[in-house]
Symmetry: C2
């Protein structure tokens, strides 16, 4: 897929066919995530790939907004190891750039995906830490639900807003 087409046609997808995504495509999605920039190139991200669908009901219990997982193929929980940071307090930005690359990659491979936030909701972060027994220095950032889209993507709508673009001053 052409870059600008990918950037402008990616949408959050929440309804899936239930079909399974091959492991090598999940690897490709994650690899694209690792090419995101990060503060002082710390690359603090870790990925928990959940392909065992018997765990999906548990995940839907500990995150309030991922009912889409019911028909999805995989969940990828994006975490950061804060002990890897060179510039503390940037891990949530690094992970956001990382998941954006992953969302684009999923779209480019013909899959659908949605970013469900874990950070900054303290209760969700705690539940994911407990469920996955995350090390002390590791925080869960987000969960990417990915699968084979059930429906065609909605048409592209123009997002550019002239009043949000300021020239040389606010």
């Amino acid at each position: 897929m052409e870059l600008f087409q990918a950037l402008k046609t990616r949408r959050s997808v929440r309804e899936f066919t239930g079909a399974r995504i091959p492991a090598e495509d999940i690897r490709e999605i994650i690899e694209c995530g690792t090419y995101a920039p990060s503060a002082l190139n710390a690359q603090p991200w870790h990925f928990i790939v959940v392909d065992d669908t018997s765990l999906f009901p548990d995940l839907m219990k500990i995150h309030p907004y991922i009912s889409s997982l019911g028909s999805a193929s995989h969940a990828i929980i994006l975490c950061a190891d804060k002990s890897l940071e060179h510039a503390p307090g940037n891990w949530m930005l690094d992970c956001s750039a990382c998941i954006q690359n992953m969302l684009l990659a999923a779209h480019g491979l013909g899959y659908g995906a949605v970013w469900a936030g874990i950070y900054p909701a303290a209760d969700r972060m705690e539940r994911f830490s407990q469920y996955f027994k995350l090390p002390e220095s590791v925080s869960a950032h987000s969960i990417m639900v990915v699968g084979c889209p059930k429906n065609p993507l909605p048409l592209v709508t123009d997002r550019y807003r002239e009043e949000k673009v300021h020239l040389n001053k606010w």
Copy 2:
């Protein structure tokens, strides 16, 4: 440019020729930013495009790590209007996805760019607020320095780390 090539070859670029980027390409870069996902689709971003190079020395004074601006074409200061948020505390994630799209778009157009953080450094945020007289609800997130790259990009290095990918459990 093909999506996966773009994702994997984008690099932070800090040396530029000084050549000017046409305004329509800056618009395209920003437009790509606006297609990023945001929490509850709040799209809280605003953009201050600085094409007046006489302001560059001021910007280099208020941000410690943008000496690259000396040979760049434009600075784009990405801000968020927190009063637009539906899910408070997500604006810094939304803006990170937005700037990642912008970095990819700049790369796809053949330009080079670097993301210099403003958030979470409180002193930098304050200096940008004062310099641009930002409204109370608006915070500066980052500055994207963009220009025509002076040198070829460094070769792609493999970023995927098996030990950072966990299957079904940490």
